[in-house]
Symmetry: C2
């Protein structure tokens, strides 16, 4: 059961309480359960903006400038950053502190990095929960930023109301940029570092690619040019995000389809984590898992037979 005071402070947007709530949901689905049951009915007011793109595209600067733009307009902004760095590196925490200094640490901006926590997974689930907490805590905009570009990151970005894909000039000449599969998830495209050579070419190539794609909702994703470090193009980006959000709002049917598919994905993620942790929390299972891993490493047993054994322990 959640303490009522705790929930009250959370819903009032108290930064320390939000931080503690996110730490709790990071610890695992079991610990998160009661808290999230209380949080869920308060969600649905914030606009969730997902921002992705390859490392080096300048996403952090872009997110910071966009957050400042919203803040100056009088809105409250939460930022959740998914960082695949090693939990041992401490890079995420240090990065948060640097960015908090830039953004101005006050009630209206909150930033938090979610790092990979060992191999028990749950990062996607924890990230979506953190977004829900910020939503319930009254932030007008919640920005989810991924540092990496992988399958989990793509799934997480898909849960946003608006997905923004950030590119840089000179990347478009490489077919890998397309293969990364992020083209299909962008509602808005940004060419950042637009003062660099090759911006026109990147724009042309992106336009060509987008003209090939056919979205079921008939939305034509705009391309916004920015120079985040000089604060250029940020207002245009905010306008493009708002346009898409308005466009979706006019089609309640397709919006519900999207929300259903997000809910299903979320449910499966949660289920996956719960099933594993329920099994591993049984007496002796973790010890057995470790000794089976040793046997596999020594090639005395194959992983599939080992799993049969662990499932048999249920």
């Amino acid at each position: 059961m959640e303490n009522n005071d705790f929930l009250e402070r959370l819903f009032a947007g108290d930064a320390r309480t939000i931080a503690r709530a996110i730490t709790r949901i990071e610890s695992g689905a079991a610990g998160a359960s009661d808290l999230m049951k209380a949080v869920f009915p308060r969600t649905g007011k914030a606009t969730i903006i997902g921002i992705t793109g390859s490392p080096g595209a300048g996403k952090s600067s872009l997110v910071d400038k966009l957050a400042l733009f919203y803040k100056e307009r009088g809105e409250r902004v939460g930022i959740v950053c998914i960082d695949p760095s090693s939990p041992f590196s401490g890079g995420a925490i240090l990065g948060d502190r640097i960015r908090m200094a830039t953004l101005g640490l006050d009630k209206n901006v909150f930033i938090r990095s979610m790092a990979t926590r060992g191999n028990l997974g749950g990062l996607s689930r924890a990230t979506v929960d953190a977004v829900a907490i910020l939503d319930a805590a009254g932030f007008d905009k919640v920005i989810v930023e991924t540092v990496g570009v992988g399958q989990d990151e793509v799934e997480i970005i898909k849960t946003a109301d608006v997905s923004v894909v950030v590119l840089v000039p000179g990347m478009g000449d490489d077919i890998q940029a397309i293969k990364a599969g992020i083209m299909e998830i962008g509602d808005v495209f940004v060419i950042n570092k637009a003062d660099r050579e090759g911006v026109l070419r990147t724009q042309k190539e992106l336009e060509a690619l987008l003209s090939l794609a056919h979205r079921p909702d008939m939305w034509n994703p705009p391309i916004v040019r920015t120079i985040a470090t000089e604060n250029k193009g940020i207002e245009e980006l905010a306008a493009a995000i708002e346009n898409y959000n308005g466009f979706v709002g006019t089609d309640a049917g397709s919006n519900l389809t999207r929300k259903r598919s997000i809910a299903r994905w979320r449910l499966v993620e949660l289920l996956r984590e719960r099933l594993l942790s329920d099994l591993l929390n049984q007496n002796g299972t973790t010890v057995r898992l470790d000794s089976l891993a040793d046997e596999i490493a020594e090639k005395k047993k194959d992983p599939y037979s080992a799993v049969d054994e662990l499932i048999g322990l249920k």
Copy 2:
């Protein structure tokens, strides 16, 4: 039970049989079980090379040239490419065909893309299984190439014998390249497109970063400059890979520690997938899952209560 003929053709390296085997393990852990139990004892001979880096770094060209180098040396090379593209885009299959044409389609080179298959996961497990199949099929080198850079991709690359991280000049000026956490997993670093401006600066910055990192095994990761499109630096890369592999071979203790942690990760991945599929394969669970997802989308129920319900069905 696996057909003996099928296994014989697989272990003899027959391309069509290998392709069918990989398709089977992609379908899910349950279908993969018998096949992988037969495959596992035949593994351990190939050198597994993991290659990662951001989109646009030219990884595909680099992998192709490295594969050709091995092939010309008389070795057999398998390539497994992890591609987060939508399974609907068909990009992966098209890409394979183009690359097969470049590499020369014969018994000595095999290439296969593994794409994200819906939201039931299992991509990491399937990829590691595909590598094991190629190993058992007698390939001397198996190259695992990730298109994205995300947490799953980092985990998969860690299961390789040698991990290669590919950078390009001009990326080093961005702190995000560091934050992507790929620095810590590189046994060998490549600066590709080394004819571009800024190569010296990237090299200096990379050297500075690497001097800060302290590896438990005391290995000092080399930096190799390549221009993959002109076939430059490939021999040096192959030599660096061989050096690291020789270095690891001299320290059986730390090698076993690494193999244990890989085995444990693999076991957990497999367990996660099996637990979920066992539950979803029960009569009526999938239907209940879908209707609960609808209730969540309509905000009539929170995801945590829905999971409690589904767990209760066990």
